[in-house]
Symmetry: C2
Subunit: 239 residues, 2 copies
């Protein structure tokens, strides 16, 4: 399992992913699920992946190959808009998904996958998409400024309560970390370390990028303070 | 969808269910999912149901029929222990589930269901079970003093943080209501009114029972105070 979340705020984008991958409980590994494609000052595209690792790795490899070949139709670094970037990723994801599942049909398994895609190109808008394995996608808006993939339920309530487009990047960063903390507590297949990046609007590059390791003291302190705030808030409730 | 939760505390049991049933988003209705069987001072059994309404209603009808017939093998009011009660309910649920799904197999639908069963008989222990459609069941313990059925993810984090066997019934009541509040905010197919009951250990009857209607001022105040506590706690976090 996986948990990835992206926020589209007035001042920029915040994206967070875990790194745990498992094929059954007895086969757990750590894989990066955050991928950045950047020409600094011109274009930045960040992709977070969830689902079957053979599907998502193949999609990323195909995207990289098209960039290396400077393929005008399939390179996300040449696409004229973020919408076109999302469409290229959607087509690639759907092609791989269909191909893998055709082979899997004989067994009883199926391989699903989805992706968060965020970025901005010079002269374009900062946008955040959720791309489905069918190749279609939805986009974050002012009404719903966040998107999630993977194990999204445990970490949703806090996002609903604190994230609006006016939220600052610093507060948004805290919100996605608390959302991830709730998810990791409830689902063992979501785990540290975490990858977090921010893209400030109009910078056309990754503004900050950090890996938060297990036992990170700042994250642990935040997690503990949140637990205390929840307990104290609960115990002081009326009714 | 449905959300039902039960707590097994040192002083008694707290059970809460919503009442919303839907067959598609355009066909929403209100059905009670909490059923009580009681011989005051001798035996009390409370059942909460989740899943396909045709399955759960048929199971409850069959349980009632066996009680009316005073069937020594199938009446949960004659079963010599709460374990036997859970077994009778498990067998009945599995029989109905299999029968309904055999007929449904020709379509692509399937009808799943599960139940929470709690109670105590004179001379026996107070126990809380989760009965699966396969007829098997698990029991709440000191390590995990709560059980949930239906849409369980949104409301789980608060239970994990505040419920222990030493929790009082009054605090447990608040905990299940906050857990339900989080669930209703995130899943439209879980909705008011709510049914809440408590069974104090050694009373062999339902100790309190209440229906909480939409707009209930005490529940609304608790929900609002919880929202404020979450936001305030979040905004004062370090990191």
């Amino acid at each position: 399992m996986t948990y990835c979340v992206g926020l589209l705020l007035e001042t920029g984008i915040v994206m967070l992913s875990d790194t745990r991958t498992n094929a059954g409980f007895d086969n757990v590994a750590c894989y990066r699920k955050m991928f950045v494609f950047e020409t600094t000052g011109e274009r930045v595209v960040a992709i977070l992946t969830a689902g079957n690792l053979s599907v998502t790795q193949t999609v990323i490899a195909k995207l990289r190959q098209a960039i290396a070949r400077d393929d005008p139709e399939h390179s996300i670094m040449r696409a004229p808009s973020m919408l076109d970037v999302a469409e290229i990723i959607g087509r690639t994801l759907n092609d791989v998904h269909v191909a893998v599942n055709e082979r899997m049909e004989r067994t009883k398994y199926s391989a699903s996958a989805s992706m968060l895609v965020a970025g901005q190109r010079l002269g374009g808008q900062l946008r955040l998409f959720l791309v489905y394995e069918e190749g279609n996608f939805i986009e974050a808006t002012d009404d719903t400024p966040y998107l999630q993939i993977g194990e999204h339920k445990y970490g949703k309530p806090i996002l609903d309560r604190v994230v609006t487009p006016e939220t600052t990047i610093e507060v948004g960063r805290k919100a996605v970390l608390i959302s991830m903390d709730s998810t990791m507590r409830s689902n063992l297949s979501v785990g540290m370390p975490l990858d977090l990046l921010t893209i400030r609007r109009g910078e056309y590059r990754v503004s900050t990028r950090e890996r938060i390791e297990a036992g990170d003291p700042t994250f642990s302190a935040m997690s503990e303070a949140w637990g205390n705030a929840l307990r104290d808030g609960f115990l002081s409730l009326p009714g």
